[in-house]
């Protein structure tokens, strides 16, 4: 390139404090720079009125649904509290029925204190553990070693559940375990479902197991338990 038409890419980096000698200052952005430097290409919209109107619509739909429920279904009110007369069965509110079902299998210290405390602690520490920050499928790396650990843990858990005869938790454990094993299979012509299944990290599996178990326990406590906490079939009891 000649002097009259300098190549724009040919520059010389100098440290010069004389503004007359080096009038142009260049900011050099390297790859190590904080990501905040990147301009966001996310389209924004005004909170008022658009955002808040959507919130208002959601709240209105909910309010209408709740008002309709309140108009048509009465909240229950049983007889006056009588300390000498325990109703049969004495059931907790539905969100504690899963817990009450668990109390059927374990002593109060374990089922009423230990397990709920462990659940709460486990929930709180979720974001601080690497296993929950990984986003890739659980079988993507170290497949053999992970399969061994998985087999050992799930076998121990299933044995524990059989010993305590906790069938309600055993069923979802077996199903989720089977799904995980299916996801671990290496097959050439993997279907879309298989691909979707194997893309999930371990945190997904654990949380799904917890969700299914809790739902099942609550459902059993609500519909399948009658007087003396005995097993009843809902279609014959009501």
């Amino acid at each position: 390139m000649n002097e009259s038409n300098p190549d724009p890419k040919a520059f010389e980096a100098v440290v010069e404090s004389d503004s007359r000698k080096a009038p142009v200052r260049v900011a050099f952005v390297t790859r190590r720079t904080s990501p905040q430097v990147k301009a966001e290409s996310d389209p924004f919209m005004m909170t008022w009125p658009e955002g808040l109107f959507r919130v208002a619509v959601a709240c209105e739909v909910l309010s209408i649904a709740l008002v309709l429920m309140a108009l048509f279904w009465d909240a229950p009110l049983e007889g006056l509290a009588d300390p000498m007369q325990t109703p049969n069965p004495a059931k907790a509110p539905w969100y504690f029925l899963g817990l009450q079902e668990l109390l059927h299998y374990f002593p109060p210290v374990v089922g009423g204190v230990l397990i709920p405390t462990l659940v709460v602690i486990a929930l709180i520490v979720i974001p601080y553990f690497n296993v929950n920050v990984e986003a890739e499928g659980v079988w993507t790396r170290n497949r053999r070693k992970r399969l061994q650990v998985f087999s050992a843990v799930s076998l121990a858990l299933i044995l524990l559940l059989i010993v305590f005869k906790v069938w309600a938790v055993l069923a979802p454990t077996v199903i989720i375990g089977a799904a995980m094993l299916f996801a671990a299979r290496e097959s050439e012509n993997a279907g879309r479902f298989h691909g979707w299944l194997s893309s999930h990290p371990l945190s997904f599996w654990i949380m799904t197991w917890f969700l299914v178990t809790a739902t099942l326990l609550t459902a059993i406590g609500t519909f399948f338990r009658g007087p003396g906490w005995s097993w009843v079939w809902p279609w014959s009891a009501y």
Binding site: M84, P89, A90, H104, G228, W229
Partner: protein, 156 residues
């Protein structure tokens, strides 16, 4: 003063220590007073000692439920004793089933025999035996706050 000035305890440090120390003491005091406040000193609950009537109300080899007192009075061969009617599992009120000869809890299906020993269900302990005594007028008194060992009987 010289060299140790940097390590010397200044008046400011002392005052800060005194201030924080007093605040800590005050906090501990407030916590203690708060705990005492929250813990009621007077309970409007019935006296734990229940009068269940004359001992001859209870024929030999019988189990009588007294729901008001919350006890079962059992007249065994060795004598009289009282069992608490509150299930040891989660505090539900049990019921005496004379046709089956057992005490049953409606909440989770715990069953006890007339000795209070658990025969079925999730209850962790047997029904506690309560202290019985006779009052000056000859009434049978059950002290629901005192648990006795299963070898205690009241002979009449």
């Amino acid at each position: 003063m010289g060299q140790e000035d940097a390590d010397a305890l200044t008046r400011r440090d002392t005052l800060i220590k005194i201030g924080l120390g007093s605040a800590a003491v005050a906090c501990c005091g407030a916590a203690a007073f708060g705990y005492q406040f929250l813990s009621p000193n007077v309970l409007y609950e019935p006296s734990p000692i229940a009068n269940v009537g004359k001992p001859d109300r209870f024929p030999p080899d019988s189990v009588t439920a007294d729901p008001v007192a919350g006890v079962y009075i059992v007249h065994a061969a060795e004598g009289l004793y009282a069992l608490s009617a509150t299930c040891t599992h989660l505090g539900c009120f049990t019921a005496w089933k004379p046709e089956l000869g057992i005490i049953a809890c409606p909440c989770h299906g715990s069953k006890f025999n007339r000795l209070g020993v658990k025969i079925d269900g999730p209850a962790p302990r047997p029904l506690p035996r309560l202290k019985v005594s006779v009052s000056d007028e000859g009434d049978l008194l059950v002290d629901r706050s005192t648990i006795v060992t299963p070898d205690q009987f009241l002979r009449t």
